[in-house]
Structure formats: C-alpha cells, structure tokens
C-alpha cells in the first residue's frame, strides 16, 4: 500500500512540475507574440509642434561654445535628427551607437543631441560616449518648445525646417521608423497603420512601446 502511494505521489508531482513548465513556456510564448504584434514604431505623442509644422527656429550654444541653428532652412540641405537624451537614461545610452553610426554614414542627416542640466556632466558624458561636442546642445527652452515629456525623444526636421516625424524612441527600429514615416509621407507609424486598416484592433491604435 505504501509503495503504491509513493509511486502515485511521485507520478503526480512529475506531472504537476511538467504542467508548471508548460505554463511557463506558454507565458514566454505569449510575451514573444506581444513583442511581435506591437508595431515597431516610435510612439507619437500629441504634444508640442505637430508634424508638418515648421520647427521652432532657435540659435543655441553647443558644448564647444559655438552657435548651432535648429529649424529654418539648412544651407547644406541636410535633414536634422534632434535627439533628446539624459546621461541618467539607460535607454538613451543603448541608442547612442546607432546615432553615432548615422552621423558617420549619413552625411545628409545632421544628428543633434539635446539635453539640459550640468554642463560639466554633459561634457564628460559626450566624451565617454564619443559624441561630437559641436552637435550637442544644452537648452531647457528647446525641450519646452518641443514639449518633451519622456526620454529618449527624437524629432526629424527636413532641410526646409519642417517637422517630418517625431516620437518617443526606445529602439533602433523606432529611430528608423521616423525616417520611414517621412519617406512614406505619414506623421507616424501609428498614422500609417491607421491608414492601412480603417478599423484597427485596439492594441494597434496607439502603437509603439512607451519609454521608462
């Protein structure tokens, strides 16, 4: 009798643990599905100057103490990617290698890093990440004009100074989606998805994953 109970108990525990493993595997699969169906686009926020409007025209001082113009016509006909970051934002740091590569490989795109706070802290941050000090501006007003509430935030401005795409960017794909949005003539990937399906399911409406 005791042997039978022992065997049955062992068998039951094996099956319970196996079921636990299956449940864990299923939840992981659900997580993977979540990531796959979430549109890889920058989350567009309806704050600040809208896409299609001219970017606020500003003359700012960069970390190398030279003036740097934001907005208005670019004499060299480059697009400007304005990237709002903070040295204390871990997600911003993960995007820096992609941005330095864009700076190096895309001469028609001017990447400008924007932040505010202690100048010395930013100089050390720019140096440690190999960022060009002449493309790094500190301006509280710039953030206020674009109404940046969450980081990392990026704005793509065309050569004529018009905002072409903007949004919260958490991944390289989100950054790419800004350029893709401009190429397709939409304000954001969210608008593109809305156009593709007139009645999108609820999870697709807002799109993109929000930042920390």
């Amino acid at each position: 009798m005791t042997d039978a109970l022992l065997v049955s108990n062992a068998l039951l525990w094996c099956m319970v643990v196996a079921l636990g493993l299956v449940v864990l595997a299923l939840t992981r699969q659900v997580g993977l599905l979540h990531e796959r169906i979430a549109p890889a686009g920058a989350l567009a926020v309806a704050k600040g100057p809208a896409v299609g409007e001219p970017a606020p025209s500003m003359e700012l001082l960069n970390l190398a103490n030279q003036t740097l113009a934001i907005g208005g016509d670019d004499v060299r006909e480059r697009r400007t990617l304005l990237f709002f970051l903070s040295p204390t934002c871990p997600v911003c740091e993960t995007l820096l290698p992609t941005l330095t590569r864009v700076t190096r490989e895309e001469p028609r795109v001017r990447v400008v890093f924007a932040s505010d706070g202690e100048r010395d802290e930013h100089i050390a941050f720019a140096r440690s990440h190999g960022l060009d000090a002449s493309r790094y501006v500190l301006s509280r007003e710039l953030g206020l004009r674009f109404e940046v509430a969450k980081l990392p935030f990026a704005v793509l401005i065309d050569a004529a100074g018009i905002i072409r795409a903007k949004g919260l960017v958490n991944t390289r794909e989100h950054l790419e989606s800004l350029f893709e949005a401009q190429d397709r003539g939409v304000a954001s990937i969210q608008e593109f998805l809305d156009r593709e399906s007139p009645e999108p399911p609820k999870t697709r409406v807002a799109g993109g994953r929000s930042g920390r």
Binding site: A10, W13, C14, G20, L21, R28, L43, C89, P90, S210
Partner: protein, 178 residues
C-alpha cells in the same frame, strides 16, 4: 506548521532571493538607474543603496537555506518586501506607473502596477510562515517528494505569474494614450 510546508516555503524563498540578488549584482549600474527612477533615495545614496539591497537579498537567501537565525531572516524578509511595496505604492500614487519596477532584472522591464503589491503581500505571507517553528515528526520518502515537487512547482508558477503580470501591464501601457 508541518515541516513539508516549512521546507517548501523556505527553499522557494531562498531561490527567489538568490535569483533577485543575482539579477541585481549582474547589472548594478542598471539597477541603480532603476532605483533612481523611483525617486525615493537621494541620488548620492543610490549607488550604495543598490549594493545594500543586492547584498541583503543575497544574505536572506543564505539564511533561509542554512536555517541560521531563521526568525530574524523571516522578519527581515517581511520588512524588505514591505519597503519594496511602499516604494511601489508611493510611485503608483504619484502616477509614475511607467517606470521599471526592477523585478525582472536586466532581462526585461516591467511597469509598476497594483498586481506587484499583491505579489509582494503573498511573498510576505510566505516569509512570515517561516517564522513558525515546524512540528517535530519523522520524515518519509513521500515527504521528500512533496518538498522537491512543491518547491519546483512554486518556483515555476511564480516565474510564470510574474511574466503574465509584466505582459498585462505592458500591453495596458501600449493601449493607453500617453
């Protein structure tokens, strides 16, 4: 309390705290950034605070496993979980739901939610159970099976439910207007 329940709770808690300490020590800088986002500790204490939390979780895992100073370990674990819950609760009240809770380690981020408070309450109840002395009785082979199977199932279900909570909170965040 029956020794089977005592051992299952003790070993499961030891595994939980050891894995939490491991996550934190793997990426102390990342955990520091998460801790700073909670906006509870002054920034100059964040670095030492993250080391202290990781170390105390590691110590709790050792105490639960070894059985040394068990009543103290049980009280300390309840206190630590209460501190975590208070930090989460304060940020939920502040409306800062979008920050990472720091529960999943470097593997992923999970926004704050009330479900985390429920989770911590259940864990705290488990930690408080360890405070009770197990009754003195002889062990049989079935007891060993129950302890091994129970612990494994508890740990698996805990990881699965943590993932479900993380997914539920992040999909809610996707759907909500920012």
């Amino acid at each position: 309390m029956d020794p089977v329940f005592h051992w299952v709770t003790r070993i499961a808690l030891a595994i939980l705290f050891a894995s939490a300490a491991h996550h934190k020590s793997q990426d102390l800088q990342g955990f520091g950034a998460t801790l700073r986002e909670y906006r509870i500790l002054p920034s100059r204490w964040v670095a030492s605070g993250s080391v202290a939390l990781a170390a105390s979780e590691g110590l709790l895992a050792l105490l639960f496993l070894s059985g040394f100073a068990l009543p103290m370990a049980s009280a300390a674990a309840v206190f630590l979980l209460a501190v975590y819950s208070a930090a989460i609760g304060v940020n939920l009240l502040r409306g800062r739901r979008q920050i990472d809770c720091g529960c999943l380690g470097p593997a992923g981020s999970q926004p704050l939610s009330a479900a985390l408070l429920v989770r911590n309450a259940i864990l705290g109840f488990g930690a408080a159970l360890v405070f009770l002395e197990p009754i003195d009785r002889s062990y049989s082979a079935i007891d060993l099976l129950s302890i091994a199977g129970g612990t494994a199932t508890l740990v698996l279900l805990f990881s699965a439910s943590s993932q479900l909570v993380a997914q539920a909170s992040s999909s809610r965040q996707i759907g909500s207007p920012s």
